[in-house]
C-alpha cells in the first residue's frame, strides 16, 4: 500500500487530466470473440476493479486455463438484464492518450437498434470478424449502420488469426474484400488489422506471430485515430435548454454548444423566430469566459432582452440551419409496432418536442444487400427513409453535416415509447412563418437569397440599384429615415438617399440594430454585405 510517491501520483494525474475523450462502439457477435477482446482491453487498460479480476481468476481456475478474458463482460448476468430489450453495455478505461467510453453491442441480425444506439454517440466503430469466416453479410451491415450513424472512422479487427495459422494471405484476402466493399460507404478512414484477442496478439503489443503485419496495434490505433470533428467543428449551434432569471437585472439562456464556437461580441440568430442579437457574456460558475466551444455547457447573456426561450436554437447567422416543417430522414425503427401513417407521433429534436406524422415510406433498406426496396411501413430493426411532417417548425441541419441538429427521436404519442431514431437527409425550408403567421427575417432571407443592407447616401443611386437588381438582389431606394427602416425590416438592400438631414436622424434611430451598413456605394461591397 502507498508505494506510489505523491509526486508520481501527481504526474499520473496531470497526464490523465490532459486526456481526450474517445467514444467507440464495438460490434460483433459473441462468436467473433468480442467479449474476449473487450475484456482484454479493460484488463490491459486498468478498467477493472480488483474484485472483478479476483472473481474471474477464481472462475478460470476451475477450468484450469489461463485467465478467461471473456468472463469480465459475460456471465453472472442478473435475470432482470435478460429482460432488457435494448442491450448496450458501457465500459470505461483509459489508454495512454485517451479516456475511452466503450459501447458494447451485440451483433446478431435482430439487434440493429442496439448497434444504432451504441453508434449514435461514437467517434469510432470497431467491427470484429472471425478470420475463418471472413467478411459476412453482418459485417457489411455493421459497416453500413456505422456510416449511416455518422461514424467517420472504422476499424475492422480480423480476430482469431491463430485459427488460420496467422496466415498473411488469409488476412489480406479478407482485408481486400472488405475494403472494396467499404469504399462506397465514404468513411474518412478504414483500418483493417489482424488480431488474436484471447492471446493478446496485436491488441496492446505487436506479435511475433504477426511479424508480417507492419501496421499499428489496436491500442495504438485507438490512441491515434482522429476524433471526429463533428462534435466540435462546423458553424455555431446552441439549442436553448432554459432561461436563467435570478433577478430583474439578469437574463441568460442555458444550453450546450453542440457545434462550433462562440466569443463575446459574436452575432447570433435565434431560430425559428429569426431575431438577431449579440452575445454579451458567456457565464459559468467560477467566472465568465471570453469564448467557448462544443461541447461546453454554458449560459449566454444576449444584447437585446429578446424573448428567446427553451426550444429555440441560436446559430451563426452566416450559415444558418433550415427552419422546416417537412423533411426526409433515415430512420432506424425501434418500436414493436410498425410505423403507421395514421398514428400520432412526437419528434424530439434538440430541446424541442413537436407533434409529427409519417407522410410516407420512401424506401426500406435491405440489410442483406444494402439495396433500397419499396415498403408500406418500417418494422422493428428496419432502416429506411421516411418523409415526416411536424406540427411546429424545427430548426435542422443535415445529419451528415451536424449530428446534434440533424438527429431526432420519434416517440409514440400514446405509449410514450421511443419508436424511432432519425437522421435528417433533406429538409424543405418552411415558409409559413414561425410566430402567429408573421413572415420572419429568416424566411425573407431564404426567399431573397440575401439579408438586408443599408447603403448610405450613394452617388448615382438609380444606376447602382439597376446593377444590384440585375445581380439578383431585392432592392429599394428610400428618401426618408422611416422608409429606410421599413425597407431594411423587409429584408431589402436599401439605398438611402436623404432629402434633408435624415442621415443623422436615421443613424440615431438605427443605433444598436444589427443591420449591415455600407458607406461607400461600391457595388462589390454591397453584394458581399448582403450575401454575408
Amino acid at each position: 500500500m502507498g508505494a506510489l510517491h505523491p509526486a508520481a501520483i501527481g504526474e499520473i494525474l496531470r497526464q490523465r487530466e490532459q486526456k481526450e475523450l474517445l467514444r467507440l462502439v464495438v460490434v460483433g457477435s459473441v462468436d467473433d470473440g468480442k467479449s474476449t477482446l473487450i475484456g482484454r482491453l479493460l484488463y490491459e487498460l486498468h478498467g477493472l476493479y480488483q474484485d472483478q479480476i479476483d472473481q474471474v481468476r477464481r472462475a478460470t481456475k476451475q477450468g484450469g486455463a489461463a485467465l478467461d478474458f471473456s468472463l469480465f463482460t459475460d456471465g453472472l448476468l442478473a435475470e432482470r438484464e435478460q429482460a432488457i430489450t435494448i442491450d448496450v453495455a458501457y465500459r470505461y478505461c483509459a489508454s495512454k492518450r485517451r479516456k475511452l467510453i466503450i459501447a458494447d453491442t451485440p451483433g446478431h441480425v435482430q439487434y440493429t437498434r442496439n448497434m444504432a444506439t451504441g453508434a449514435s454517440t461514437a467517434d469510432v466503430a470497431v467491427i470484429l470478424l472471425d478470420a475463418r469466416l471472413g467478411t459476412l453479410p453482418q459485417t457489411r451491415r455493421h459497416a453500413f449502420i456505422a456510416a449511416l450513424l455518422g461514424i467517420r472512422q472504422l476499424v475492422v479487427a480480423v480476430n482469431k488469426m491463430d485459427l488460420v495459422g496467422f496466415s498473411q494471405a488469409a488476412f489480406e484476402e479478407i482485408r481486400d474484400d472488405f475494403l472494396s466493399f467499404a469504399e462506397r460507404l465514404g468513411f474518412d478512414g478504414v483500418q483493417v488489422l489482424p488480431l488474436c484477442a484471447s492471446d493478446g496478439d496485436n491488441v496492446a503489443a505487436p506479435s511475433a506471430r504477426l511479424a508480417w503485419h507492419s501496421g499499428a496495434t489496436l491500442l495504438e490505433l485507438l490512441d491515434t485515430v482522429p476524433v471526429a470533428r463533428h462534435r466540435t467543428g462546423g458553424a455555431f449551434r446552441f439549442p436553448v435548454q432554459g432561461v436563467l432569471r435570478p433577478n430583474l437585472d439578469y437574463r441568460a439562456v442555458t444550453g450546450q454548444i453542440v457545434a462550433g464556437e462562440i466569443a463575446v461580441g459574436d452575432e447570433v440568430v435565434a431560430l425559428p423566430s429569426g431575431l438577431r442579437t449579440r452575445v454579451t457574456s458567456i457565464d459559468r460558475l467560477g467566472g465568465p469566459l471570453a469564448n467557448a466551444r462544443a461541447p461546453q455547457a454554458v449560459a449566454l447573456q444576449l444584447e437585446h432582452q429578446l424573448d428567446v426561450g427553451r426550444g429555440e436554437l441560436l446559430a451563426a447567422p452566416d450559415s444558418p440551419p433550415i427552419v422546416t416543417r417537412r423533411f426526409e430522414a433515415d430512420v432506424v425503427w425501434l418500436g414493436e409496432q410498425p410505423s403507421d401513417p395514421r398514428r400520432g407521433y412526437l419528434v424530439k429534436h434538440g430541446t424541442r418536442v413537436v407533434p409529427a406524422r409519417i407522410e410516407r415510406v420512401c424506401h426500406r433498406v435491405d440489410l442483406e444487400t444494402i439495396e433500397h426496396q419499396e415498403a408500406p411501413a418500417l418494422t422493428l430493426n428496419d432502416i429506411g427513409r421516411l418523409a415526416l411532417a411536424v406540427g411546429k417548425p424545427l430548426v435542422v441541419d443535415r445529419y451528415q453535416g451536424c449530428r446534434a441538429t440533424g438527429a431526432f427521436i420519434v416517440i409514440d404519442a400514446q405509449t410514450n415509447a421511443t419508436v424511432g431514431a432519425g437522421m435528417i437527409t433533406e429538409a424543405t425550408a418552411s415558409h409559413d412563418g414561425a410566430r402567429g403567421g408573421a413572415v420572419s427575417a429568416v424566411e425573407r432571407r431564404a426567399r431573397f437569397g440575401h439579408g438586408p443592407v443599408l447603403v448610405w447616401n450613394p452617388a448615382k443611386a438609380e444606376a447602382l440599384e439597376r446593377a444590384l437588381w440585375d445581380e439578383g438582389l431585392a432592392t429599394a431606394i428610400a428618401n426618408t429615415p422611416e422608409a429606410a427602416r421599413a425597407c431594411v425590416a423587409a429584408g431589402l438592400v436599401c439605398l438611402f438617399v436623404p432629402e434633408d438631414r435624415g442621415t443623422v436622424a436615421l443613424r440615431a434611430q438605427l443605433a444598436g440594430e444589427p443591420v449591415p451598413m455600407v458607406e461607400t456605394g461600391i457595388f462589390e461591397e454591397i453584394v458581399a454585405a448582403a450575401r454575408a
Binding site: 432554459g242 460558475l285 410514450n416
Partner: protein
C-alpha cells in the same frame, strides 16, 4: 483556447442532463447522501444554474445512523450555498425500533432506506429524482440508462426502459410515473476523485486516514462513532489509522487501514491497489467496495 479534456466533456454532458430534467419535469429533486459522488453531483447542478439558485431541493434519506461528520458537512453545505434541504426519514421504522444491530442489513436497508425514499418521493409528488450512481460501479450496472423509468408503484420495469440515442432523452411520463436520473453514468471512480481535486470540492473527512476508534467485525473495521454503538461481549474499541472508501450508516460501513490523508494520496492508493494486482497481489478490502456498491444498487 486550450483543448477540452475528458473531464470537461463529462462535466458538460452531466450539466446538459441536469438542465434537461429540470426543464422537462414538473417536480424534480436531487438525492443527496453527502458522499463524494453527491458532492460532485451537487457541484454540477450548481454549475448548471449559476447564477440562479437550484430550481429543485435536495433530499437526504436519513436513517439517523449516519456518521456525525456527514451531518456536519451536510448542514455546512446547505447553509453555505443557501440550498433547500428535505430530510426523509421513515418515522414508523424508527418507532418500531428498526436499527442496524437487531435486524439483518437487508431488512434494515429496506425499511430505513428504500421505503423511506419511496415514501418521501410519493409524499412530495416528485416526478424525477437525481442520483449519483455510476455505470462503472458494478458489472450489472453497465446497461443502466441515464433516465431510469419507474411505474406508479416506483418499481423498475425492465421492459419499460427506453433506448437512449445521442443526447436525446425521452422524458415523457404519465401522471404518477417517475424517473430516476443518473447524470454521472459515464464517470468512473477515478474521474470523480480527479474532479473533486480539480474543483477543490469539500468531502467528508472520513475519506481520509486518521486515528479512529474501531472494532473488528466480519473482516472489516467498524467505527465507534457515538455511544449508541453496541459492543459484543469481548469486543473493545482500538485506535487505528483508517479511512472509508464509501460512507453510509456507521455500524454498517467498513473502514480500511490507510495512510492516505489527501485526495492525491487516496487516488494513489486506488491506483496502487488496482495496478499491483497485475503483479499477482491480492487485496482483500476491495471486496467491501463491491459489497457497498451492491447495497447502493438495491437502494437506488
Amino acid at each position: 483556447m486550450s483543448a477540452l479534456t475528458h473531464l470537461d466533456e463529462l462535466e458538460a454532458e452531466s450539466i446538459h442532463i441536469i438542465r434537461e430534467v429540470a426543464a422537462e419535469f414538473k417536480k424534480p429533486v436531487m438525492l443527496y447522501s453527502v458522499g463524494k459522488d453527491s458532492q460532485v453531483l451537487l457541484h454540477l447542478a450548481r454549475k448548471a444554474f449559476f447564477p440562479a439558485p437550484l430550481p429543485f431541493p435536495l433530499l437526504h434519506i436519513d436513517t439517523t445512523w449516519k456518521f456525525r461528520a456527514m451531518y456536519e458537512l451536510r448542514d455546512h453545505v446547505v447553509r453555505e450555498h443557501g440550498l433547500q434541504l428535505i430530510v426523509g426519514c421513515n418515522q414508523r421504522g424508527l418507532d418500531e425500533g428498526i436499527n442496524p444491530f437487531d435486524y439483518s442489513s437487508q431488512r434494515y436497508t429496506r425499511v430505513m432506506k428504500t421505503l423511506a425514499l419511496v415514501e418521501t418521493l410519493k409524499t412530495h409528488g416528485f416526478d424525477a429524482a437525481f442520483g449519483g450512481a455510476r455505470r462503472d460501479e458494478e458489472k450489472s450496472r453497465a446497461k443502466e440508462r441515464v433516465y431510469s423509468f419507474r411505474d406508479r408503484d416506483q418499481q423498475w420495469d425492465p421492459r419499460n426502459q427506453r433506448p437512449e440515442l445521442w443526447n436525446l432523452y425521452n422524458g415523457r411520463i404519465e401522471a404518477g410515473e417517475s424517473i430516476r436520473v443518473f447524470p454521472l453514468s459515464n464517470w468512473t471512480e477515478l474521474d470523480v476523485w480527479q474532479y473533486v481535486l480539480r474543483e477543490a470540492l469539500p468531502v467528508v473527512p472520513l475519506y481520509f486516514a486518521a486515528e479512529r476508534p474501531v472494532v473488528r467485525r466480519g473482516g472489516a473495521w467498524i467505527m465507534v462513532d457515538d455511544d449508541r454503538m453496541r459492543l459484543l461481549p469481548g469486543e473493545a474499541s482500538v485506535l487505528k489509522r483508517v479511512r472509508f472508501r464509501t460512507l453510509g450508516c456507521y455500524p454498517l460501513s467498513g473502514a480500511v487501514e490507510s495512510n492516505a490523508t489527501t485526495v492525491i494520496e487516496v487516488i494513489g492508493e486506488m491506483l496502487d491497489s488496482r495496478w499491483s494486482e497485475r503483479q499477482g497481489r491480492l487485496i482483500d478490502h476491495d471486496e467491501e467496495g463491491s459489497m457497498e456498491s451492491k447495497k447502493r444498487e438495491g437502494y437506488f
